[in-house]
Amino acid sequence: MDRKDSAAVMKKGRIVHVFGYFLLILLVIPGAAARVYIDIDSPGFQKFPLAIADFRQTGGDPDEAGLSRWFPDATARYLDMTDYFQIKDRRAFLETARSTAGDPFKVEFPDWTTIGVDYLVKGVFILRGGAVTSEIRIYDTVKAEEVFRRTYTGTVDGKAEMAGRMAGDILAALTGTRPLFDSQIAFGRKTPQGAEIFSVNFDGSGIAKRTAEYALVFSPQWSPDGRYLSYTSYRSGTPAVYIKDLKQKVTRMVTPYRGMNLAGPWSPDGRKMLLTLSRDGNEEIYSLEIATGTLKRLTRHFAIDVSPCWSPDGGSIAFVSNRSGSPQIYVMDAAGNGVRRISYEGGYNTSPAWSPRGDRIAYESRTGGGFQIFTINPQGEDLQAVTSAAGGVHEKPAWSPDGRYLAAISRKGGRHRIVVIGMSEMKTRTIYESTWKCSGLAWSH
């Protein structure tokens, strides 16, 4: 909740008034001198050397779970995933517990700068009957000053969630970016009884089966608030779009039209969803207004039109059409006008995904080495390869909410993987792996 409010304030502050900057300071980095430290978007960005000292227990029950080391390790694991930090190994640390014995938050700054650490995280915790209270502080070791502190409460059982919050705060305090650690990636996967929609956390934890369809499923889509999950299921024998209300645990069948019914993305404002339907004779793209149930047809062409996605401002739609004779990526405005083709390299280009930053459209293209992922700008220029055949075949790109990562399905040697690719370093991390075939991805907002 706290984080969401901050994000909302950040957005408004920038647009509405001059003093927004002060709000940002007050909310994001309470009790600290404030500025955004690491410009992760600068072209010369280098990973920031960060150390997380072992947490000191300041009271309570014996530390049987080994939290003293568990917290720094778990937090470091989260931060390492972002590709922004170079986490220093604790074996390099010079500062001893003895030198800071009296005060756990005493920092021997030269001990850290000597080993090349620019930022230091220290933590303490108290354990009482399964409950944990912990405080962390972040230091700029070069300036020898504290930049952030916060206290957390939780349980030993819920320690992973606590570490996630800590990592999120560290990331936000040092880079000003919204943490992705609580975002989820939904995908379809075959099961012994059919196929289901699953979701997995950004860090590869928390795999969960979201549906019980016992039938073919395709194209999971999150609503912007994460409350609804829409998808296509063949549970009734033919394809229809379903929406699951994850909060109230209610499922609706939304489009029981003749022929194809494919779920497409929700609009950025959550008011509409895109669909591919063949109810009017062949596959066309439609938008469905959630509040009224009004269906509006956007494409009119005898060719296949499929796989639409929104631009982040909701003003444009990218989609696949074979109107030129082979599947290619097209862009049109949100009313279906001004259709123009943007992909010209290659004879088979599909699965467009528009970056939340607006400047790139990712898609998959059939190459000599099987399907691989590329990005291009919305004008159809500046084509760049993201994946290569070395990692297998890559399909179905999906952007992270901050546009800094792409999730994709990778296939190699009978294994199906969900991978996350950091766009700054093109480093790939596997977050899920199965011998069962996986399909269509969506990243929660």
Partner: protein
């Protein structure tokens, strides 16, 4: 010293003004959210026994389709084997419908399949109490969603062919399974060619 005091004073004013603005604009979404959610909670308290109905009335999705069970019925035991043909047994004997095949990324009926389709059309003319479901399938090479569309085009191309030869349109249903049910799971050109197909499922009238 005086400069520092002045600085502190300005900073304080700025902070106060900022906080006031924060109250004014930043809190709004939170309040709106509460208002939007309140009626649901109220109704749930009033009529807990009509749980399903309450959900139906208050949801943001009320205008969309209809509610269905959270879980679909589990599948009947035994997995149907996929074959490249379909045998229909009639009082006059068995009749075999062979799959018809397609080129990569194409859905035009091939010349070599026309004779077979002509025979099938005649069979449907002669056996008017039978209906058919035409399944459209693809190889695994393409993209899943595009293949769903392509499979539909293939099934539809065969349907149109039969309709043009006089089979009543209402006797023919189509469904696309895209690349989900390959006949041959091998990753070879030969297998892909087998998997790009339209498959017939013929049933006695319903």
């Amino acid at each position: 010293m005086r400069k520092v005091a002045l600085h502190a004073c300005i900073t304080l004013i700025v902070m106060i003004v900022s906080l006031m603005m924060f109250q004014g604009c930043a809190k709004k979404p939170v309040v709106q959210e509460d208002v939007a959610r309140a009626p649901q909670a109220e109704k749930a308290v009033q009529a807990p026994e009509e749980d399903q109905a309450v959900r139906e009335d208050t949801g943001e999705l009320a205008k969309l389709g209809k509610t269905v069970p959270e879980e679909a019925p589990p599948p009947k035991s035994g997995k149907a084997e996929r074959l490249g043909y379909f045998v229909v047994s009639t009082p006059d004997g068995d009749y075999v419908f062979y799959d018809v095949h397609f080129d990569f990324d194409k859905y035009a009926v091939r010349a070599e399949d026309r004779d077979a389709l002509n025979r099938y059309a005649k069979w449907f003319q002669d056996n008017r109490r039978y209906d058919v479901l035409i399944e459209g399938h693809c190889d695994e090479v393409g993209t899943e969603e595009y293949n769903l569309a392509l499979g539909e085009r293939r099934a539809d191309a065969v349907r149109r062919y039969l309709v043009d030869l006089g089979v009543a349109a209402e006797r023919i249903r189509t469904v696309s399974y895209g690349e989900a049910y390959p006949l041959d799971p091998a990753q070879t050109e030969e297998a892909y060619a087998k998997n790009r197909r339209a498959h017939f499922v013929v049933s006695f009238e319903k």
